[in-house]
Each structure stands twice: as C-alpha cells, then as structure tokens.
C-alpha cells in the first residue's frame, strides 16, 4: 500500500468517525440546550466539523490529483518507510502491528491482573515478561531489574506519597 492510499483510508475513517459523532455521539451524549448561553453541543460540533471539513478537503485534493493524472511525489507514491529526522514529533512509517501488539498486550494484561493479583507479584511478572518481549535474555539482569523496580516503586508509592497500592494487599 502506498502512503497516499493509506492516507486516503485514514481520511475516510476520520470522515466516518465524524459522521458517527455528529449523528449519534454528540446528540445522544450531550445535555439539552438549557435556554441560555451557547448550546453544550456547539463546540463539540465545531471541532468535529473542522475535522470532517479538513478530511474531506484532503481527500478531494487526492481525488483531483488522481483524476487529472498529476505525477505523485516519490515520498507519497512509495510505501511509507520509517523516516528519521523529525525526532520528537511525527515519525511517519509502516505500522508494525505485531510489534505493537507484543508490547501493548503485557501492559493491558497488567491493568486487568493488578485488580486481582497482589501488586508485588503482578509487577514482577510484568517486568520479566516485558524484558523478554524486548529481547532481553540475561535472566539474572532481568530478575534484578524487576525486583529493584518493583520494590522501589512500592516504597515510593506506599511510604513516600502514601498512595493506596492497586489490587489486593499482602503487606
């Protein structure tokens, strides 16, 4: 898929989202107009309107370029490879879904598990799994990092800030 095709799909998705918000999301989940001031839905409608207008405009631009058979710049006609240089801002490139899933799934599991398993265990296991996922095969180092990090954050949260530790307690 070329970058221009990918962008077109993104614009279509944005337009779909905006239509959904304008027809269902905003009317259903916004209070009725109280009779004074601006309507509670006004700014929401304006912001969604801006998104939709810009997405339509961008899509139209792509459509006109395709219809008039204008040459497409190389950076947009090829598959979006990772671009260096814009460090700190956007980093246009391929979406690596497998990598994304392997990093996000342990985090999501941590959020679910921490409500049921004591923090000490779940965070230790999470850190071990996470280090394995990112390629660490030095077991001693992984255990040391996991133990120290779990203990330090436990001490800081419990005794430093006095914050309740999530999930069931064993200490």
């Amino acid at each position: 898929m070329t970058r221009i095709k990918r962008d077109s799909i993104a614009y279509l998705a944005i337009i779909g989202f905006c239509i959904l918000m304008l027809t269902w999301g905003i009317p259903t989940y916004t209070p009725d107009y109280p009779g004074y001031g601006a309507s509670p839905a006004l700014v929401a409608n304006v912001s969604v309107g801006i998104m939709m207008f810009m997405a339509c405009l961008s899509l139209l631009n792509i459509g006109i370029a395709a219809y008039t058979n204008k040459p497409i710049p190389a950076e947009e006609s090829e598959f979006p490879e990772d671009m260096e240089g814009d460090a700190g801002f956007t980093q246009v490139g391929r979406v690596k879904l497998k990598h994304l899933a392997s990093t996000m799934i342990p985090c999501v599991l941590l959020v679910v598990a921490i409500e049921h398993v004591p923090y000490i265990f779940v965070s230790f296991i999470f850190l071990m799994v996470f280090q394995y996922v990112i390629g660490s095969r030095k077991w001693v180092q992984s255990i040391v990092v996991s133990v120290i990090l779990t203990a330090v954050l436990y001490i800081v949260m419990r005794y430093g800030f006095g914050v309740p530790i999530p999930g069931p307690q064993i200490f």
Binding site: D7, M21, G25, I26, Y29, T30, P31, D32, Y36, G37, A38, P40, V43, A44, V46, S47, V48, G49, I50, M51, M54, L57, S58, A65, P71, I72, P73, A74, E75, E76, D86, A87, G88, F89, T90, Q91, V92, G93, R94, V95, K96, L100, M104, C107, L110, V111, I114, L127, Q131, I134, G135, K138, Q141, V145, S146, L149, L153, F161, V163, P166
Partner: protein, 514 residues
C-alpha cells in the same frame, strides 16, 4: 515590594531549593538519554508533584525542563544523537570536536552557552511579563476566544508536514477536552455512560500516553529491528588544553552567544515556533556573520555556542505567552500549564494579581535553576556522559513501568492507566500517519478555556452575532487567524506543486534513460 521579598524568600526555602536542584539534575540526566526529552520528562514527573506545594512543584518542573535542554547536548556532542530535537545543530560542531578528542571542551562550551542563554532569557521574562500582563488584563472574553483560536491555528502547523492534518488533530484534541461535566448545565457530556469519565479525562494519563509511552513504542520498534546496537563514545584527549575551555575561547563567542540568546527570546515568545527553530536560526546567523565561518560544521566552538544559547533561551521566554495571555507556546509550556492547573491556578494575566507572591517565587526559582544548571553541569559532567550509555534493556522497562505507575498516581485509579494505554495507542498511530500530537495536546488543554470564553461572549453579547465586529482587537485576531490558515494552505499547495514538478521531472528522466 513586600510580595517580591516574600516570594523570593519562598524560593530559597530548603524544600524549594532541594526540588529545583533535583529537577535540574534529573533533567540533565534524562535529556542526556537519547529519545527522552523535556516535555516527556515533565509528563512523567507531573504526578510526583501532586504531593508538593505549588511553588516547589513548578520550580521542580522548570528545573527539569532547563536541565533537559542542556542534557540534550550531551548525547548530541558525544554520539551525534541529539537527546532532544533542538540539540541537532549542536551535534554538527560538537561531534567533530569529540572525534578530535575534545568532547569535554565541547560539552563545557555547550554548558556555559546554555547557562548564558537561559539566564539572559529569564531576566527578560522577569522584566517584561508583568507589565505585558497588565496590558493583557484589558482583554475580554471575545479577545481571549479569538486569541485561543489563533494559537490553535498557529500550533496546528507544529510537528506535521500538513496544516490540514494539524487542524484535524487540534479538532480531535478539543473534542476529547470537552469530555466530562459541561460548565453551564453541570451535566455530563460525551461520557458514553462511562461513569469514570464524569469528571473528564485527566491531563496526566493523556500526556504520558501521547508523549512518553507512544515514543517508547516507536523507539522499541527501532530497537528491536536494529537489534539495539550499542554506540561507543570516542576517547577524550588527556591534554589539558583539549579538555578545558579558556576564558578567551569562551568570550571570543560573546557576540554569538548574545545574538543567540536574543533569537531564542524572540522565537520563544512567539507561540508555535519552538526551540529547534531558534537553534537553527541562530546557527545560521552565526555562520553568516562569523570571521571563521569555514570552521562551522568541522568543530567550531562558536557553532555550539550559537545553537545552545538560542535553544536554552527559549525555555524561559516561552513562558511569556503563558504568563501574559495564558496561551502555551510549545509542548513543554503546555505541560507546565497543566501543572499550574493541577495546583489550582489558571495561567494568564490574572496570576500576577491573584498569586503575586507565588509568581515572584517562581521567578526566584527560575534564576536559581540557572545557577544550579551551571553548578550541576560543571560538577557532574563526567557522570552525565555515562547516562548516554545506559543499556536499553534496563532503560525501557524502567520508563514503561514509570509511565504506568505515573498514570496511576494522579487519581489512584487503574482506569487512568487504561486511558494512558489508549492514548499511547492513539499517539502511535498519530505519529505514524503524520498527525500532530502537539496540536492535539494543546487543543485538549485549551478546549475548556475556549468554550468558557465562547459562553461568556454569547451571554454578554445577548446573542449578538456581530459582537466580534464591535471589538477591534478580537476582530484583528480573528482576521490574523484566517490569514494564518490561508497563508499556510498556500504554502502547502506551493510545496505540493513543487514536489509534483520534481516527480514529473524524475519520471521524464526515467523515460529518457529507458
């Protein structure tokens, strides 16, 4: 006068001094690690400041930001990998010096230039923010509404090659910022029956997800793909003249440092430009005006001075629009604005009336942070150099786990951790598809204020749609907003056409070759 003295005394209290010191030290350390920048550090550490007083918290975060700006130069000079985008120009002359065994000298120049730019800029901020804020007090809701519209438009262009995508991101940010309790009816809005959303989305999980976690996702991607190759630092020369920076060498760049500081102040005071612009502009000017312009890019101390003085000057001057108008000029200041709000203050001209003592305390902390930067940088330079080589296998788990617990700390809620992960996911796609997360975040922060101003305009004007035409300043600002949109669109079209011409020429060349 009493307020000034009381504020300054607050800033030299042991707790305040300790946290400013800690902020600068952590900032330099974090900035030195490639891939972690000032705004990301502020997002990670805001939850910690919940437990501090307002002055201590702001002093800590400002110190963190100042430290990170200099820290970015460490990896730029030693590895040619700028820790922060604004340090890129520093690497052009810093790294060649490192290759010559003069890395320590280059870092000293970067430090002294940073401190110079930062100090000059802080003094200018102190001198002009208060008088400008007094003028800004004459602005009504119509002007504030118009000003926020202008700021959102200008900022939409940051961090993306297309203003239309920037505006889409800003629109999405505003929409997300509206989730929670509606101010006029006090009823919930856009919560989709999720009761935890009743009080709105907190800035902390959103910022940590978008700024820190999504960045880590991208870095891990490259790290896994490239196999996490470790870079090595060139050995430093043992000769004293190669390591030390003499007064003569430093003062030879005096004019460049002053010019760099002024450029940094000017760029920082304008919303939307940011430190990288200041840094490159100053470097360009220094090269054009220098007697030794041929040395630029090959290891010129003047080049390092130009870049570092300008980017560090942005730190304090970018707070001018925040203190005067309540508008964040860049991402770091947007995060600081969030911190002000968390501590119960609304940044803007009224702060000088409502929290005068605190404001002078912040001024004191800003000056103290400059001094600490000099001391910490001077004493800890060698140790900070070691930070650039922290193994990624240790660093990434620490950052990821800190993100998770940081999101939890704010409201002691695992729901916020889920929000953080959701915004990390959104941030990942925004970066990959070239949508500006900077515009999103600033839209998110400014949305409630924008809506409040609009509500006030509608109520005060009694539904008079010509309200803006009766307020010349508001009308001027709205006209400027339109001008910015039209001009940026024109520039985008022009650049698109240029690319098309280039593509056509390349195609024709290929046909000819065939």
């Amino acid at each position: 006068m009493e307020m000034i003295i009381a504020g300054l005394l607050d800033s030299i209290s042991p707790a305040s001094l300790m946290f400013v010191f800690l902020g600068v030290a952590i900032g330099v350390l974090i900035g030195a690690i490639p891939g972690i920048n000032g705004p990301m550090a502020i997002a990670l550490f805001i939850p910690v400041t919940y437990y501090m007083s307002a002055l201590t918290a702001i002093g800590f975060l400002v110190g963190l930001n100042k430290g990170a700006f200099f820290g970015g130069a460490v990896s730029a000079v030693l590895l040619r990998t700028p820790g922060t985008p604004e340090a890129a120009a520093t690497s052009w002359d810093g790294y060649p010096l490192t290759q010559q065994g003069k890395g320590e000298k280059a870092l000293r120049m970067a430090l002294y230039s940073s401190v110079t730019g930062d100090f000059v800029s802080t003094v200018v901020l102190i001198a002009i923010a208060s008088p400008l804020a007094a003028v800004a007090l004459f602005m009504g809701p119509a002007e504030i509404f118009a000003l926020i519209s202008l700021a959102l438009t200008v900022i939409a262009g940051i961090g993306t090659s297309s203003i239309s995508r920037g505006l889409m991101a800003a629109g999405f940010g505003i929409l997300v910022g509206l989730v929670g309790t509606e101010p006029v009816t006090a009823l919930t809005r856009l919560t989709f029956d999720v009761y935890q959303l009743g009080s709105g989305l907190s800035l902390i999980p959103v910022a940590i997800g978008l700024l820190a976690f999504s960045e880590i996702l991208l870095q891990l991607e490259k790290f896994t793909v490239k196999g996490g190759g470790k870079q090595t630092i060139h050995e430093s020369s043992t000769k004293l003249e190669d390591r030390m920076l003499t007064f003569k060498e430093f003062f030879a760049s005096g004019k460049t440092l002053l010019r760099g500081s002024m450029i940094g102040i000017g760029v920082g005071a304008m919303p939307g430009l940011g430190a990288p612009v200041a840094s490159f502009m100053s470097y360009d000017q220094a090269m054009k005006r220098s007697k030794n312009s041929e040395e630029f890019g090959k290891g010129s101390l003047e080049g390092i001075g130009a870049s570092e003085s300008a980017n560090s000057a942005v730190v304090a001057s970018s707070m001018i629009p925040l203190f005067v108008l309540g508008i964040p000029g860049n991402l770091a200041v947007a995060m600081l604005m969030g911190a002000f709000m968390i501590h119960g203050m609304q940044p803007g001209p009224l702060m000088f009336q409502e929290n005068a003592q605190l404001m002078y305390g912040i001024y004191g902390s800003l000056l103290i942070a400059s001094l600490f930067l000099l001391v910490i940088g001077r004493l800890g330079l060698r140790y900070f150099c070691k930070a650039v080589n922290i193994p990624a296998m240790i660093l990434y788990p620490i950052v990821v786990f800190t993100c998770i617990m940081g999101a939890y700390l704010g409201r002691s809620s695992m729901f916020d951790v889920g929000v953080m992960l959701a915004f990390a996911f959104i941030g990942y796609f925004m970066r990959k598809f070239d949508y500006s997360y900077v515009a999103f975040l600033i839209g998110f922060i400014l949305a409630p204020e924008w809506e409040r101003a609009l509500q006030q305009v509608v109520i005060i004007s009694e539904y008079d749609t010509y309200m803006f035409f009766q307020r010349p300043v508001a009308m001027g600002l709205m006209a400027l907003t339109l001008f910015v949109i039209v001009r940026t669109c024109k520039l985008n079209i022009k650049s698109g056409r240029k690319k098309q011409v280039e593509a056509a020429a390349a195609k024709a060349g290929q046909h000819k070759a065939d």
